[in-house]
């Protein structure tokens, strides 16, 4: 495959990034999807939309988030300089709020009176419930019964914020089934409802729109690194479930050829065991949830459950733009196991006084692998996409401690 002049022009008018993406949805939803696309195109052209976004980013989310030089981590690894993009310091504790602010402003412009969302770990659900509280819009969050059981604190947070959390028992009762049920709700409530998707996946225009809202991560990083080091970073590392935090960090750098990018998938117990969430490294192209992308599936095209210690990475697909960047080789995609992520979780907590989300710990675990072998003037940015407070029950349980 020859390299294009730019990696930032996608998708095309059909919502495709090369082979991937598209609008694979039932006819009932097509008029709505087209309506969302039209409304988003109009919002992009309207300076007041960008102004509203900037206002809430600064005064509500707390942006810009710091780019922090992790000195002790750098010394421990003994090679490249390690910087952390501190998305964990955003309001609600993760990058997810960047997207929900953008989409709630869009939903308001569209005059929608009800919001639905899916959530796995509960981070996107919390970020959605938060903006729905802020703008006083009723909110229903679909969450797999299995996830509700293992993410109780986030379920309680959503309910405190006034959201209705609906337990999903269909299929395997995890994130993919929550997304199925959110789509079923949308089909039945097309008139007044807006579906606020949490990652760079789903039918067009969602992958491009969510990416645009998350690009603030990479845009800030570029400026901040310029100020700190007077140049571009050399390597960017970010964890990938659906891929929104990675896309937000990577996209503004895609046309800077000196910048190497590495997406880190969840290898769970190891890709060879079959118990993992590495759609690119262990899946095949297919069609699910409105887009064509790499999916974990059987040879018969049935979707397989993902596995990861991190509920936020526990999804059998990945955003279609990542699938395209994988095939075009602009971005490298690797995988980190549960054990490696857990080790990095403890390491960062002790070295920097920062408890990272288990998702972000996957990115750090890969930094641990590569940093020692890189020169001391090599600049790495790892996306610290979320804080780990939500994961302390999981980590405690692994140590045999009941909180």
């Amino acid at each position: 495959m020859s390299s294009p002049n730019t990696y930032r022009s996608g998708p095309n008018e059909r919502g495709l990034f090369g082979l991937f993406g598209g609008r694979f949805v039932a006819e009932t939803l097509m008029p709505l999807i087209l309506q969302v696309e039209e409304a988003y195109d109009a919002a992009k052209r309207d300076p007041s939309f960008a102004k509203d976004m900037a206002y809430y980013f600064e005064h509500y989310v707390g942006r810009p988030s710091p780019l922090y030089f992790a000195q002790r981590t750098t010394e421990e690894f003994g090679g490249a300089k390690v910087y952390l993009k501190r998305e964990d310091l955003n309001h609600t504790g993760a990058h997810k709020i960047n997207n929900t602010i953008g989409q709630i402003l869009l939903a308001r412009r569209m005059g929608k009176r009800r919001i639905i969302a899916e959530t796995g770990a509960g981070q996107h659900g919390v970020a959605t419930a938060t903006v729905c509280a802020l703008f006083n819009i009723p909110c229903v969050v679909y969450m797999g019964a299995t996830d509700i059981e293992r993410q109780k604190p986030n379920v309680f947070r959503m309910r405190l914020l006034g959201a209705e959390v609906r337990s999903v028992h269909s299929g395997t009762a995890t994130l993919k089934d929550a997304m199925n049920d959110a789509l079923r709700d949308w089909v039945a409530n097309v008139e007044d409802t807006y579906y606020l998707i949490g990652t760079v996946a789903g039918p067009h225009p969602y992958p491009a729109m969510v990416r645009d809202f998350q690009n603030v991560i990479g845009d800030e990083t570029k400026k901040q690194m310029q100020k700190a080091e007077g140049r571009l970073p050399d390597t960017l590392v970010a964890a990938i479930g659906g891929g929104s935090n990675a896309m937000g960090l990577f996209h503004p750098f895609l046309d800077d050829p000196s910048v190497k990018m590495i997406g880190v998938e969840a290898a769970g117990h190891g890709i060879s065991t079959g118990k993992h969430a590495a759609s690119l490294n262990g899946g095949l192209p297919g069609v699910l949830h409105g887009n064509r992308t790499y999916l974990l599936q059987t040879p018969d095209g049935q979707i397989i459950d993902a596995h990861s210690i991190s509920a936020g990475l526990d999804y059998p697909g990945i955003g279609p733009e990542h699938a395209w960047l994988f095939d075009s080789k602009r971005v490298d995609y690797v995988a980190i196991t549960d054990d490696e992520a857990l080790e990095a979780f403890h390491l960062l907590t002790r070295l920097e006084g920062i408890i990272p989300a288990l998702e972000s710990a996957h990115a750090l675990a890969h930094v641990k692998k590569i940093a020692p072998h890189l020169p001391k003037d090599h600049l790495i940015v790892a996306n610290l996409s979320g804080r780990g407070d939500k994961d302390i029950n999981t980590v405690a349980a692994l140590q045999g401690i009941q909180l």
Partner: protein, 274 residues
């Protein structure tokens, strides 16, 4: 003339609407399903929809979701769906068979290979829920090239602006989804269906079948008065579920109980315009 055209022409000559039945292939097991399929023409099904089971049926309600999972647990896959259809064709060469499902199992099988095998198995049409006209190059156009109809769904959200796009490459018949929602939940008011069918008929010469929310012979008859066919799915799939033991295995009366229900629906449809 295709089997679908011939069947709708025959119904027109008889002055009645048709009954379209849906069952998920391999529910609850391949053998029971094959026996249901074999009995359908005599029980009064005019067109037969065979569901391709999928792990994530986003547009379906609880009844068909459960049927899909039962079929998958019993080992059903697309290859066997085609084999069962082929066997049926050796005994019945006139009743149209329409495969209905989601794109991924077909994409995974390989579109070209699928079309060759489907044609050889005697498949007449396809309904693929998650392939809107925007993706006609994927499967719709290649299928029509080999003589397999691509039947599209029109819905209450399909306004006059969008309808021409939906109709553009639709062949065989048009399937009107009477309610905005998933399968097997609420029912539309008869008056609303009448209005919708009249509107659709202004835009197309294709037969119009109406489905979603039709459960009883009376409801089927009401639809049969205004449309060219009534589609019943979830209610029949629920009848299958009622004849299962606690391990989801077929009870001895399953096939006859299900076919009795089809008979009753057929009588409703046949008597509708009498």
């Amino acid at each position: 003339m295709s089997r679908i055209e011939e069947r709708f022409a025959a119904l027109k000559r008889e002055g009645r609407a048709g009954l379209v039945t849906y069952f998920t292939c391999g529910d609850p097991d391949a053998e029971s399903f094959a026996r249901i399929l074999e009995g359908l023409p005599e029980a009064g099904a005019d067109v037969i929809e065979v569901g391709i089971p999928f792990s994530d049926p986003m547009a379906d309600g609880p009844a068909i979701q459960a049927a899909s999972l039962r079929a998958l647990r019993a080992g059903m896959n697309l290859k066997t769906v085609l084999a069962i259809t082929k066997t049926f064709r050796t005994k019945d060469d006139t009743t149209p068979i329409v495969l209905m499902g989601y794109y991924n199992p077909i994409y995974s099988y390989g579109v070209d290979r699928f079309l060759v095998d489907a044609k050889a198995a005697g498949v007449d049409g396809l309904i693929v829920v998650d392939l809107p006209p925007e993706h006609d190059d994927e499967l719709c156009l290649p299928a029509q090239k080999v003589g397999i109809d691509f039947i599209r769904l029109a819905t209450p959200t399909t306004d006059d602006k969008r309808l021409p796009k939906v109709l553009s490459n639709t062949t065989g018949f048009l399937y009107y989804v009477a309610v905005a929602g998933v399968t097997g939940t609420k029912s539309a008011a008869a008056g609303a269906i009448d209005t919708a069918v009249t509107r659709l008929k202004k835009h197309t010469k294709l037969p119009v079948a109406v489905g979603f929310g039709i459960r009883t012979p009376e409801q089927a008859a009401a639809v049969a008065r205004v449309a060219d066919a009534a589609v019943v799915g979830s209610a029949l799939v629920e009848r299958v579920a009622l004849s299962l033991d606690k391990d989801d295995k077929a009870k001895p009366d399953l096939v006859s109980a299900v076919l009795d229900d089809v008979h009753a629906l057929s009588r409703g449809v046949k008597g509708a315009r009498a």
